[in-house]
């Protein structure tokens, strides 16, 4: 019996470690290439640890790609999106969970339904709106929409707000507090953990977004990392060491964020995935 369990345990760990290696190996290959000379990256023999380590690939990526400009643009767009979602999503979620009104259920239903609309359906008309307003080429088409909320985040927050007992709000109401005061002074401070989740997901999604910048950022000086790296790759297909260095730098902020807030990531995914 004991032998059988330990044998089973062994296979279990063996499979887990094998899968882990498959998951991790691409990262190692990325870092390894990013530190190689072009000659070594394009040689027929392979060493995971470069024979001479070329940190200067990272410096070259800054100069040639121009990594700094793209990072700055990405940070600006990402921050505006985070701020926008943090201002409006909790308000909307409050209106859908703590106020008894006629549209509560209907609006929540429509919000759920919008998650199923393919992006392509609205892509062209929305593009035409921005085009008519002469705003294609600015960051407004990929920042302003954040100030109208996002279905995914509204749902996370609505679920969270439902866990806040109504008795707290009623007590404040009896004391004569206005609805907005209750919202901003009582509910918002209580939902900091859920707000953190929204901030993280907005950061992650905006940081990585490709289609938005592809459609709207027409000038190179306003490109984000996503579009900048893609364009650099299509123009300089062979400079893999620089591309890998740039990809590593593009990914690192997100990995750092992840390690600081691993719990929030998991909570956010599980809340929207498990509750209906």
């Amino acid at each position: 019996m004991n032998k059988r369990t330990s044998g089973k345990n062994f296979t279990k760990y063996l499979i887990l470690i094998l899968i882990s290696m498959i998951f991790l190996f691409p990262f190692l290959f990325l870092i390894s290439t990013s530190l190689k000379s072009m000659d070594e990256a394009f040689s027929n023999s392979f060493h995971l640890i470069p024979q001479t380590i070329h940190w200067d690939n990272y410096i070259k990526a800054f100069q040639k790609i121009p990594f700094l400009t793209y990072t700055k643009n990405t940070v600006v767009i990402t921050l505006i999106n985070v701020i926008g979602q943090l201002i409006v999503c909790p308000m909307i979620a409050y209106g859908l969970s703590k106020i008894e009104w006629i549209g509560k259920k209907i609006i929540f239903g429509i919000i759920l339904a919008t998650m199923l609309i393919p992006y392509q359906v609205t892509m062209i008309p929305v593009y035409m709106i921005w085009n008519k307003l002469n705003l294609v080429g600015t960051i407004i088409p990929i920042t302003l929409p954040a100030f109208f909320g996002n279905a995914f985040y509204i749902i996370i927050l609505t679920q969270f707000f439902k866990t806040i007992p109504n008795s707290i709000l009623e007590a404040a109401k009896i004391d004569g507090a206005s609805e907005f005061r209750i919202y901003s002074k009582i509910v918002l401070p209580l939902c900091k953990p859920a707000l953190a989740t929204v901030a993280i997901f907005t950061f992650l999604n905006t940081w990585s977004d490709f289609l938005g910048p592809l459609l709207y950022l027409t000038e190179q000086k306003s490109w984000t990392l996503s579009i900048g790296l893609q364009q650099y790759m299509s123009a300089h297909y062979v400079e893999w060491t620089l591309l890998m260095a740039a990809s590593a730098m593009f990914t690192i902020p997100i990995v750092i964020l992840f390690f600081f807030a691993q719990k929030k990531f998991v909570e956010g995914i599980v809340t929207t995935g498990l509750k209906d």
Binding site: K12, Y13, L16, S20, F23, P26, F27, L30, A41, F42, F46, V88, I92, Y94, G95, E100, W101, I102, G103, K104, I107, I111, L116, P118, Q120, V121, T122, M123, I124, P125, V126, M128, I129, F148, G149, E179, L204, S208, F210, L214, L225, L229, Q230, M233, S234, Y237, W240, M244, S247, F250, T251, I254, V255, F258, F265, V266, V270, G273, L274, D276
Partner: protein, 315 residues
């Protein structure tokens, strides 16, 4: 029912309705401007000939007729169906297996979970660049591993028969979100159910079939719907890979158009060929397909999704 509604209506005071409207107004405005109006006008656009430089000119069903005789349209549709079936299916099977492994009482569960999840947060441009390099026929690591084991070296991204499987593999690598959701669902399965089954002498496979699967079936439905809709919109990876070979041909669909996916062809029609009416018709066909799939899944789900079991035990 009507009585109940009436009673409810009375509960909503004018003041509360106003407040509710005020709090949700940002979303309502956004919905009208960025969803409802675009959906409606997109239907109109699909019956017109137009682009950025010319205003819409009504042409009836011409765009649809054009699409139904367009070989590339069918090609992009079959490519996308391939991706929807195999991309979604393999990812779901793989992530369920991974989640079940993680759910066994293993030491270092959180470390494994982190490793499994990490790839899914890598920006899609970075991960696609990385995989393009991994798949490089001459210098990529995958072929070096293949030759190390004495296996044939393959042209992953230039052999039309292999391009889509290569993309499926890329997708499996970044399936961490699914794993996390399945893991959470598995952890919610009441342990008493397994204990009772063990007393009845059920084996591991029987437990999986009769307890695990029914208990997680609502989550399975959710994953299938989101997976299918996501894969029907598969775009970025294909756009990057088709643009990688020198980037001269912006309207490429990869080797023999094997990765010309629906969303990619739609994008090319709208922004490369400037046939925005035709692209709008494609968008509406996609919308209808996505609607039918979701409807059918939810409709048939009553026969295989079990909402009772887990819920009752948790109450």
């Amino acid at each position: 029912m009507t009585l109940h509604l009436k009673h409810k209506k009375m509960k909503y005071s004018y003041k509360n309705n106003l407040k509710g409207l005020l709090f949700t107004s940002p979303w309502i405005i956004g919905f009208l401007v960025f969803s409802l109006y675009p959906i409606c006008i997109s239907l109109y656009y699909s019956f017109t000939n137009f682009n950025i430089f010319m205003s819409p000119e009504f042409i009836g069903f011409d765009n649809y007729a054009d699409l139904f005789t367009d070989d590339l349209f069918y090609k992009s549709l079959t490519n996308t169906v391939y991706m929807a079936i195999f991309g979604t299916g393999i990812s779901i099977i793989f992530s369920l297996i991974s989640a079940m492994l993680l759910n066994m009482k293993v030491k270092g569960q959180s470390i494994f979970r982190t490793i499994f999840f990490l790839p899914s947060i890598v920006p899609v441009v970075a991960s696609t660049l990385m995989w393009t390099w991994i798949y490089n026929p001459q210098y990529g690591i995958l072929n070096k591993i293949m030759s190390f084991f004495g296996l044939p070296e393959l042209n992953w991204l230039s052999n039309p028969a292999l391009t889509k499987p290569s993309l499926v593999l890329m997708g499996v690598w970044s399936t961490g979100t699914m794993i996390i959701i399945f893991l959470a669902a598995l952890q919610n399965v009441p342990i008493q159910l397994y204990e009772a089954a063990e007393l009845d002498g059920a084996g591991a496979f029987q437990k999986f079939l009769h307890i695990t699967l029914p208990s997680i079936s609502p989550i399975m439905l959710y994953q299938i719907i989101l997976g299918l809709i996501g894969n029907f919109q598969y775009f970025t990876q294909a756009y990057i890979i088709t643009g990688a070979n020198g980037g001269l041909n912006v309207a490429s669909g990869g080797p023999e158009n094997s990765i010309l996916f629906y969303a990619l062809y739609l994008f090319q029609n709208a922004f490369v060929y400037l046939k925005m009416g035709k692209a709008s018709a494609m968008a509406w066909i996609l919308f209808i397909i996505a609607g039918i799939i979701t409807y059918l899944l939810i409709k048939t789900s009553k026969t295989w999704v079990d909402y009772g079991q887990g819920g009752d035990k948790n109450e």
